[in-house]
């Protein structure tokens, strides 16, 4: 879990995580807000169902994937919190468009 330094000015933002109300500060990324709220896991892996949490916070690891307002595959470290957002853990990974026809050889 994360703690916040004193004197971090900003408007309070409220959103829903798995149906529960969470509060954050304006300018927080969804990933940061979830870790500050003690969410622990942001997604589970498609293969073994292992829990994962944000690893890089800069858009490269994709461990922070969540569903935001019904849209899956959102990188929560790249999205800022907004009032009333509905966020859910991503269970497994829905395929990305274009992935199915990837032919690596």
């Amino acid at each position: 879990m994360l703690r916040r330094l004193p004197e971090q000015k900003g408007r309070k933002v409220r959103f829903l995580f798995e149906g529960e109300q969470v509060s954050a500060l304006e300018g927080d990324s969804v990933a940061a807000a979830l870790m500050a709220a003690g969410a622990g896991t942001t997604r589970t892996t498609p293969k073994s169902g292992a829990p994962r949490a944000p690893y890089c916070m800069m858009g490269v690891c994709f461990e922070c994937l969540v569903e935001i307002d019904g849209v899956p595959n959102r990188q929560s470290c790249l999205v800022e919190v907004r009032d009333g957002m509905r966020v859910r853990r991503q269970q497994g990974a829905p395929g990305l468009p274009g992935e199915a026809d990837d032919d690596p050889v």
Binding site: R3, Q8, A36, Y55, M57, M58, F62, V105
Partner: protein
């Protein structure tokens, strides 16, 4: 479709500097970035901290605070800026303009540009130790981003493990903020100063950086943080999340309880866009990573595609500022916006400044050598986090005849998950090179295909070609 003289991907030091230079020359410029505000990773949230949260500037230090000036010049430059935008494809036909496909503001948009500057910077080298996928383990850079963007920090007990300037800088920032670090686990092989010594004379050109490094070390020395040296065999343990960290320090086994473990083994160029564009790359043995081949003005092997900043090889923020300026001047000359003689005078000046900035790099590379154990990882360690592929499986693919990463990918799905190989690419190259007894350069890297970012169905449906 809108056409620009120059499209810049990335609004960090290199991208902002290039945009300011190109706008001064009168070019039409668009800059897109994934983040909600300019600054890149080094100057993340610089606007907010310089504005509403000035207290954070004292914690983050003067190098961080210095970014506010360039960010302000960038915002006043008149370059079109799309923040929170993800580039999912770039097309570079043999003759003619580059075309970019970008999801921005819920809509997919396309535009063209005569020249493209890739300024997407660096990412931290993935550190595949046992348990690195557990919640509670993240990179030092991730924690630093949380601190810069939100004033957030990990609760006790917090361990930092790894090697390199960024690790030391973050530790010093924690000390300044009063954030408690339970222990620092240094994986730097002993003898850093001795290794650095031969490079010292050349590095003196960058004496400012050396002085800063020295001050950092002293600050940490007096902070009283317990330091374990010559750390090897690092492993994170826990069921659903991190509970303990095990390692050897100078050969002696140690186990510590921990809620958070931050890893760092240096930074490497983010390869995604230069690979997508099929630019030529070479293996940099000193930094153990691939870098795009670049001309002395930053052009890749693909015409009118340039790279500036750490994406071309690690040089740090100030080097990025200079290389961004060099690329922008060359592009302005090609567009006829600056005449060659006067542009070249400026380029020579910027190149001198760049050389001075890069003077300390060989010393840093010698003091903090990149990890040499990655090729020899234990078989059961997860290499590809997305598809959960182990080191043993990669070696197995090599034994079955996979000559390179793309065949390993076909066998194992390694690199086919959402991160598209960003987290396993270098490790797979190193393991295959070791297993096959070939150079990493011969082994090569994943072929990267579009889309390089997840595209939502909504964004695909709302394709706006007119923008």
């Amino acid at each position: 479709m809108t056409r620009f003289d120059l499209a810049i991907i990335g609004a960090g030091p290199a991208g902002m500097s290039a945009a300011v230079t190109a706008r001064d020359a009168g070019l039409s410029v668009i800059v897109v970035d994934e983040q909600p505000a300019p600054g890149g990773q080094i100057w993340r949230a610089i606007g907010r901290n310089a504005g509403a949260r000035p207290g954070n500037l004292a914690i983050l230090g003067e190098d961080y605070a210095s970014g506010a000036k360039l960010a302000a010049r960038f915002e006043a430059s008149g370059a079109q800026f799309w923040p929170s935008a993800s580039v999912w494809h770039v097309d570079s036909p043999d003759d003619g303009d580059k075309s970019l496909t970008v999801a921005w503001d819920g809509v997919t948009r396309q535009f063209t540009a005569r020249a493209l500057l890739i300024a997407t910077g660096a990412m931290e080298r993935p550190v595949p130790v046992p348990g690195w996928t557990l919640p509670g383990v993240m990179t030092v850079g991730a924690a630093q981003t949380l601190l810069k963007s939100s004033g957030l920090y990990p609760e006790p007990s917090l361990l930092l493990a790894g090697s390199g300037p960024l690790l030391l800088l973050f530790a010093a920032q924690c000390v300044a903020a009063g954030i408690k670090i339970a222990a620092l686990l240094e994986t730097t092989p002993p003898g850093a100063y001795l290794r650095g010594l031969p490079h010292l004379p050349k590095a003196m050109l960058g004496w400012r950086t050396l002085l800063k490094g020295h001050r950092l070390k002293r600050q940490l020395g007096v902070s009283g943080i317990p330091v374990y040296r010559a750390v090897t065999d690092l492993a994170a343990k826990g069921a659903e999340r991190l509970e303990r960290v095990r390692f050897r320090s100078a050969g002696m086994p140690v186990e510590l309880e921990a809620a958070h473990l931050l890893l760092h083994e240096g930074v490497v160029p983010n390869p995604q866009l230069t690979r997508l564009l099929r630019c030529e790359h070479h293996w940099d043995a000193a930094q153990r990573c691939f870098r795009p081949d670049l001309s002395d003005r930053g052009e890749t092997s693909v015409d009118n595609v340039f790279v500036a900043g750490d994406g071309g090889g690690i040089g740090g923020a100030m080097a990025a500022v200079h290389s961004g300026r060099i690329a922008a001047l060359e592009i302005a000359e090609r567009c006829g916006a600056v005449n060659r003689p006067s542009g070249d005078v400026e380029i020579v000046k910027a190149r001198d400044a760049l050389r001075a900035e890069l003077a300390v790099r060989p010393l840093l590379d010698a003091m903090f050598p990149p990890p040499d154990w990655i090729a020899r990882l234990d078989g059961d360690v997860t290499v590809c986090r997305c598809e959960e592929v182990s080191a043993a499986a990669i070696r197995n693919a090599a034994a079955l005849g996979a000559p390179g990463p793309n065949q390993a990918k076909a066998f194992l799905r390694a690199g086919m998950g959402p991160c598209q190989g960003r987290m396993c690419g270098l490790t797979v190259t190193e393991i295959l090179a070791d297993a096959r007894g070939e150079s990493p350069e011969r082994i090569g890297y994943y072929r990267i295909r579009p889309p390089i970012k997840p595209v939502t169905l909504g964004e695909l449906a709302a394709l706006d070609g007119s923008d």
